[in-house]
């Protein structure tokens, strides 16, 4: 394990500059911080311009439905210092709005369009077609935890003829042939 000097410097620079940033050095080459959603563009711009985190690795969204929150995660990489920085913030799930950052990294536009479509998070000032992956979607955003995949598929698709009752295939075969299911196979049967 190294001394983690660069990692500690990065963390210190961020926490000293921004009051609302706090975090830890996870391990070698890994720094993780949390901050407020309001100052996200400022923190990201500072990390990019001053701390040389020029490479935008990834951006993700996690649905914490039990806390009524969406967590937005920005993952940056510094090609100079070889450090990975994860910046996280939470927004209200009822009214999910956050500023867009595609003026800092152009490719963030694609991530934001996907998160808008899959989670219903609105990015202020985001330009780009509403539809990215899904076509004619009329349900709640599908990556949300309260989206019921089974209910959606039973509403939009039909069962194969003869399988409407969703009976176990072994039961159907035994009924048709008049034979009993062997004991050893019963524990695998759904009925």
């Amino acid at each position: 394990m190294s001394e983690q000097i660069k990692e500690k410097e990065t963390l210190e620079a961020l926490t000293k500059t921004f009051e609302k940033v706090n975090g830890i050095v996870q391990r070698d080459k890994r720094v993780i911080v949390e901050t407020d959603a309001e100052i996200i563009p400022g923190v990201l711009l500072y990390a990019k311009e001053r701390l040389k985190f020029t490479h935008f690795s990834h951006m993700s969204c996690v649905d914490w439905i039990e806390n009524n929150q969406f967590e937005l995660v920005y993952i940056l990489w510094s090609p100079e210092d070889k450090i990975q920085l994860i910046i996280k913030c939470v927004i209200n799930r009822e009214k999910p709005i956050i500023q867009n950052i595609d003026n800092i990294w152009r490719q963030a536009n694609t991530y934001e369009r996907e998160i808008r479509e899959m989670f219903g998070v609105e990015f202020e000032g985001l330009i780009g077609a509403k539809e990215f992956i899904l076509e004619d979607w009329d349900d709640i955003p599908p990556m949300r935890k309260d989206f019921d995949t089974k209910e959606y598929s039973s509403k939009h698709f039909f069962d194969r003829p003869g399988r409407e009752d969703a009976k176990d295939v072994r039961t159907v075969i035994t009924e048709r042939s008049g034979e009993e299911i062997p004991d050893f196979a019963k524990k695998y049967s759904r009925d």
């Binding site: 080459k29 020029t54 490479h55 935008f56 690795s57 990834h58 993700s60 969204c61 996690v62 649905d63 995660v73 993952i75 090609p79 070889k82 990975q84 994860i86 990294w105 152009r106 490719q107 536009n109 694609t110 991530y111 539809e131 990215f132 992956i133 899904l134 076509e135 599908p142 990556m143 935890k145 995949t149």
Partner: protein, 367 residues
Amino acid sequence: MREKTTTLYLGPQHPGITGNMMVKLQVAGDTIAKATTEVGYLHRGFEKLMERRNWLQSFTIVCRICVPEPDPNEENFSRAVEEIEGRIIPERAKWLRVLTLELGRIASYLLWYGGQNGSAGLYTVGQWSVGDRNYILDLFEELTGGRVYHMYIWPGGVRRDMPEGFRDKVLSTMDYLEKRLDDYDKLMFDNAIFQKRAQGVGIINKEKAIEWGVVGPPLRACGIASDVRKDDPYEIYDQLDFEIGLEHGSDVWARALVRRKEIRESIKIVRQVMDKIPEGEFYNKIPNPMKWKIPAGEAYVKTESARGEFGYYVVSDGTDKPRRVHVKGPAYVHGVTLLEDMLVGANLADVSFIMNSLGTCPPEIER
């Protein structure tokens, strides 16, 4: 006077890429004025599926995210789970993982040889390279039981040890491929048609390359030495002796030269693995998979795939199922924003040629 433009739809099926993706082009004559990537033909909802399955069931899904090179997916997912859980894996497993990753890289580059030349009308290279790729797939079949999807690298190590006599087969295949690469040089790199099509085409702005999110061979073709294997070494890459391909042209030709060099380096790595691989266990057994819970935590891990940085962001909430698995493939940037920018001003005939040089792979854009 404004020049009139026509709208052309390239795709969803076309020779530029593996998979289905459409590029909507506004063309003036045969010059492209505007390009828009439209995806949505391959969305299978893998990330949502994983949220309803336990950790080991999810492992069988991840390899399907990228068809030409599934191994980085398996390795990323396994390493992310191990990092969150704090599981140590045996040393031999790490070497076996690198073996599959590098064999996968060679197979993927060979497939790319075919795609890149196919989009220039040089079909012979593709016939040869897909044939040669089959020898790698034979090795995979013997090691893992699967030719394309291996489901070999799993949390805790790898699924099987090398079978008897496997080492000799790997080494003889590498010897064959190394000789064969000289033939590809004659057929492809010495070919005036390929040179003329590739040189000076599809140039990426070197100053902006990192900021735009360019990764992998296209970034190294801009003269920037960036490779996850070197910058943030995983498994046992820090114990291996290899170089990364570096070119300065930043055009399609430079990208081809980078891959040409790296395929030789991968052969070198495979030989080193075969020489140095330690004896011992290959799997640190996980608990009953049906009751296996991962402590709450998160990890972003990445590997260097044949097309560039491949990342997995995995979140666990302490239950037996992933809270969130988010996949980032290199094509997510290469195939959308970068491609849209690069195609402006390009010739219509070069579109699929440029797409191929970036390694665009729609399955990982949509997942």
